[in-house]
Symmetry: C2
Subunit: 327 residues, 2 copies
């Protein structure tokens, strides 16, 4: 079972209009309302791939209640932590003429006590888990140190921990010994202040991350250890909706790592001290990146974040295995 923490879940609303124009009243032709947040997308892809998951999320207000109900109706197991503030909503307005316009609410202020309750929920959920994923932004005003006990506690319990975070929270996750830090390139450079991807990855590794996996869209996906850099190219000529592709890639990475590291014997990704090792076999690393790239590309084919085309995952995996090669 895989525990997925979404620190800042959302109600993602998409409005289709005839033409986006500022300053006028516009009839919404079509409304889609979905639970959102990066971790929610990861959990949905994991579940679609057949993995058992538990989603831990702070939820408040009627919007939060809606997210919980919608996730459960979608077949996910949730461990919702009640919070006082209302869960945020994002509104994306689309037409066939311009880029989408997205309005993102700031999200609730979650109190220290409420974060402690989230930590308790993570601890309870991880008892029967093989992996922990922490994914997405933190609500405004949140001490980035809240991620430390989640990461450290899971690493200490022998779980694979994948942190897809940004800003100071990414640095905290690395320092807490996350098995894998998986930012996109922009988030990596932004969080570390490094001039290039390799320097940024080495920074996170020096802080304590076991492995740094950096997604860079059409430039492919790269794993960094202290001694090695392995890149798998993106699947070429995939067009569609890139929203949520990074989250699907995270799911693909977690699925591969949990499967490959438990079936390939000695390459347990964590040591008894909780410090993640960097001794994953190169083949395991490469196959994990292929899985991430295939899931990411398969998500682009679906119009909605948090969904993948599983046939496309198989197709793209074969394609990448045939044409890609470690660099």
């Amino acid at each position: 079972m895989i525990v997925v923490v979404t620190p800042n879940p959302a109600v993602d609303v998409t409005y289709r209009v005839a033409e986006q124009v500022v300053g006028v009243t516009q009839r919404v032709l079509d409304v889609v309302r979905r639970p959102g947040g990066k971790g929610v997308n990861v959990a949905r892809v994991l579940a679609a791939a057949g993995a058992a998951t538990t989603s831990v999320l702070p939820l408040g207000g009627t919007s939060g209640a809606w997210v919980d109900t919608a996730l459960r109706q979608g077949g996910l197991t949730t461990a919702a932590v009640p919070v006082t503030g209302d869960t945020r909503t994002t509104v994306t307005v689309v037409d066939d003429l311009a880029h989408p316009t997205m309005y993102g609410e700031p999200g609730p202020v979650v109190s220290a006590d409420e974060w402690t309750a989230v930590t308790d929920a993570v601890r309870t959920a991880q008892r029967h888990a093989s992996a922990l994923v922490v994914s997405g932004s933190l609500p405004r005003g949140t001490d980035p140190g809240v991620v430390r006990p989640w990461v450290r506690g899971a690493v200490d319990a022998g779980l694979l921990v994948v942190a897809d975070l940004s800003g100071p929270a990414l640095l905290e996750a690395a320092a807490a010994g996350a098995t894998v830090c998986k930012p996109n390139r922009e988030e990596l450079l932004d969080a570390t202040g490094a001039p290039d991807e390799r320097s940024g990855a080495l920074d996170l590794l020096a802080r304590g991350a076991g492995l740094v996996v950096v997604s860079a869209g059409s430039a492919g996906i790269t794993a960094h250890t202290r001694d090695a850099v392995v890149t798998v190219p993106a699947v070429p000529d995939v067009h569609g909706n890139p929203t949520g592709a990074g989250d699907a890639a995270t799911a693909g990475l977690v699925l591969a790592l949990t499967t490959l590291t438990t079936t390939s014997g000695p390459t347990n990704p964590t040591t008894p001290t909780g410090r993640a090792t960097t001794d994953l076999a190169p083949d395991v690393l490469r196959r994990s990146l292929v899985s991430a790239a295939a899931y990411g590309a398969a998500a682009v084919l679906r119009p909605v974040a948090g969904e993948v085309d599983l046939d496309a995952v198989d197709r793209f995996t074969t394609q990448l295995d045939r044409t890609g090669s470690p660099t």
Copy 2:
């Protein structure tokens, strides 16, 4: 007590952003979420003025539950009729640079059985009521005839019935014998197809309305009977938020008519046959229009629809009494 029916209530969300631009992701600086719909605004103004009200509204989904809770927390009495579809949301985006952009969801499809339940709720609520207000749009696909039993039943029970409707529903309310039809000028011309206000008003009177009151913003507010036209000018030099001013005017009209017609003896606005009379004393008519104009102007001074400045109502009433004169 005054029963207020809102056939198509909403969650009204306002997003403040730095600058509205199409095609980009925008941080929402401030979120305001309020129960909306014209009848909801009318009920809130009536309640602010000290009148007892019962709001009858079809509500569905978590958005509908939120509206019910928010109205009750605001001190209103509600008689919510559960419906299957989700109550609609409107999103208005504002900045300091351009006109607001409003996105209006189409709203739920309400079934015939659900409308029957609304009719039952209206009938129950009106038992101890002196007036019925029906205000706002109908959800998409609704037979405009749904308003008939509400209007007819209340008229037959001797209530003052004010219909602030548009399109075919306005014609239905007139035909059912509404004591007062109160469209704005644009709605009147649109619904009747008449070339001018007086012709449109005569059309509604011929169909069965007892009185037609037409609000026309800064051009004032006019009452039409078969034999008379009475206009009260708008309060001059009032600047602010015009959203909801028409609803406040409806509230001011209802407050005056229920007070003046029950305290001034023989001018009961309805006859035993249910057909509203047009024999309101000219003074009562004029004072009712002054009340409507004063409430409308006082609402403009408040940033939010459904609120009025009661001191301003008194001030404007005095001002209109002094300067205005029947035309």
